[in-house]
């Protein structure tokens, strides 16, 4: 994915995240002062408010924290994609992120199911971290 695509899609605060995703790496933010880990790219640490935030590479492992099997296509172009799974994954690093659970029968997905990250092209021209059962 070209840098120009990343600049079009991502805000300045998150471009590092998307560059890494294009290389098959999942990044999370880590506070350089208190060590707290967070996922959304905030401009300050949600624990101590420090602005000294860095990126670390996550292991890519986690568990399903919640999920839903979407049966009604939100847009006409998704009609052949349903049913698909939208989930909140709790990474081993302790943060939650939204994703899809793929390479899995939707009916098999359950809370606490162990998953690991894979990277797939998304419909918006970016490489998306998604999760498959371990």
């Amino acid at each position: 994915m070209a840098e120009a695509d990343i600049e079009r899609f991502a805000a300045p605060e998150t471009r590092e995240y998307w560059r890494a995703a294009a290389e098959g790496r999942l990044l999370v933010q880590k506070c350089q002062d208190c060590g707290a880990v967070q996922f959304f790219s905030w401009v300050s640490c949600i624990e101590c408010s420090s602005s000294r935030l860095g990126w670390i590479e996550a292991s890519g492992r986690g568990k399903v924290y919640s999920f839903t099997v979407i049966h009604r296509a939100p847009k006409p172009e998704l009609r052949d994609k349903v049913p698909y799974v939208l989930a909140l994954v709790q990474l081993d690093e302790g943060v939650r992120m939204m994703s899809n659970i793929v390479e899995c029968d939707p009916q098999a997905v359950h809370i606490d199911m162990p998953v690991r990250v894979i990277f797939e092209p998304g419909s918006v021209g970016v490489v998306l971290p998604k999760f498959r059962p371990v």
Binding site: T14, F40, I70, L86, M98, V124
Partner: protein, 385 residues
């Protein structure tokens, strides 16, 4: 000078406007509700100097209240469109109180209206898919509003051993209440099986677990408490108000089972000097069945995880000690949180006809916006506290 909003203002006019597939413009719907509220209060436009509206996708202009004031023929001394999503109707009553207390205006017209059904489902989906989920960290995964609430429902069911039948019971209760509401859109009785057999939207939420998506319009008129007895209909006094906000996007919610309603409820009760036991009727934001269970717990009407049992016991049915969503709610009467406010007023006034609850002195109204993101709790009373 006491800055608390307790006993500061009262609602003295109510308008419940067109519902369904109206073919009207958003501005036209706002005007209909405004006309009805003015007539109910025995007022004309010249008597209104404050205007509040809800910032909503159906009216994308930067200054909706300026657009409507021009359309309707108002030149207010106080004017704004507030932006808390479904939590805005309750907030409008409190902001009206603040403006009146500050001397910015004397009588506020507060309106919520939408022509979403007329604009059509494709327009709604298209706009909402841009503005609801996080543009980078959620939307690429193709969420939609019911799916985002389904994530909450799924986790809640896991943590508290609740079932899809427990969710369905909320829809059944609202439908029972809607049967006695003349303006309700859905009145045909349903049972739990009907809810579970309705189309699955995003597991575990079926079609009948989701609120209606109709055009609607409702308005109230707010004036100072000292002025409130100069009107044709009995006033509904503002006793307490509180807000609670923990996130915008569900991915960042600190919990998937307990939300800002804990704080909004505590703050509203503290302002009023009341507790959950003082509430006679509660109008709880029911965009989905799950939100009613969560609100019953978080507002303090029962312990966490026990809302399903409360519903099952009949306590929140019209014959119980805490009737909820007495007009049938957003699940069966009409979408639009403003109708929870107008229904509270109707009950407090004794105007609710066949659906009138005998003991109606204190009514709680709760609103939630986004994905259980913003919360507002309003306490209204037949008398000052």
């Amino acid at each position: 000078m006491n800055a608390s909003l307790r006993n500061s203002v009262a609602i003295v006019g109510v308008g419940e406007g067109p519902l369904g597939q109206t073919g009207m413009s958003a501005l036209g719907l706002h005007a209909e509700a405004a006309d009805l509220a003015l007539a109910d209060a025995g007022l004309s436009k010249h008597d209104i100097d404050g205007l509040l509206m809800v910032r909503a996708w159906e009216m994308p202009q930067l200054m909706p209240s300026a657009v409507f004031a021009e359309y309707y023929g108002l030149r207010p001394s106080y004017s704004n469109a507030l932006a808390l999503g479904g939590a805005t109707p309750c907030a409008m009553v409190a902001h009206a109180a603040m403006a009146i207390q500050a001397g910015l205006c004397r009588r506020v017209l507060a309106i919520q209206a939408s022509n979403r059904a007329t604009l059509g489902r494709d327009a709604a989906v298209s706009v909402l898919s841009e503005i609801v989920g996080h543009p980078e960290l959620e939307n690429p995964y193709e969420p939609m509003i019911p799916a985002l609430y389904a994530l909450v429902a799924q986790r809640y069911m896991h943590e508290y051993r609740a079932t899809t039948e427990d969710l369905a019971a909320v829809a059944v209760l609202c439908r029972e209440n809607a049967a006695r509401t003349p303006y309700a859109l859905m009145k045909k009785p349903i049972g739990v099986e009907d809810v579970l057999n309705s189309k699955m939207v995003a597991s575990p939420l079926h079609l009948l677990d989701c609120c209606l998506a109709n055009d609607f319009a409702a308005a109230v008129i707010v004036t100072s408490a000292d002025d409130a007895t100069n009107y044709p209909r009995p006033p509904a006094y503002l006793l307490g108000y509180g807000e609670g906000h923990t996130h915008e996007h569900i991915s960042e919610a600190p919990s998937l089972t307990t939300f800002g309603c804990v704080d909004s409820g505590k703050r509203a009760f503290a302002m009023a000097g009341l507790g959950p036991g003082d509430v006679d009727i509660a109008q709880l934001y029911d965009c989905f069945t799950i939100t009613v269970l969560i609100e019953l717990e978080d507002l303090g009407f029962c312990r966490k995880g026990e809302a399903a049992g409360l519903v099952d016991s009949g306590a929140v049915s019209r014959e119980g000690y805490l009737p909820i969503n007495t007009n049938g709610g957003m699940l069966s009467a009409t979408t639009g949180g403003m109708f929870h406010v107008t229904e509270a007023v109707r009950q407090l006034r004794g105007e609710a006809g066949d659906r009138q609850i005998d003991k109606a002195n204190v009514c709680l109204v709760h609103g939630n916006g986004g994905i259980l993101s913003t919360h507002t709790t309003l306490l209204l009373g037949r008398n000052r506290v």
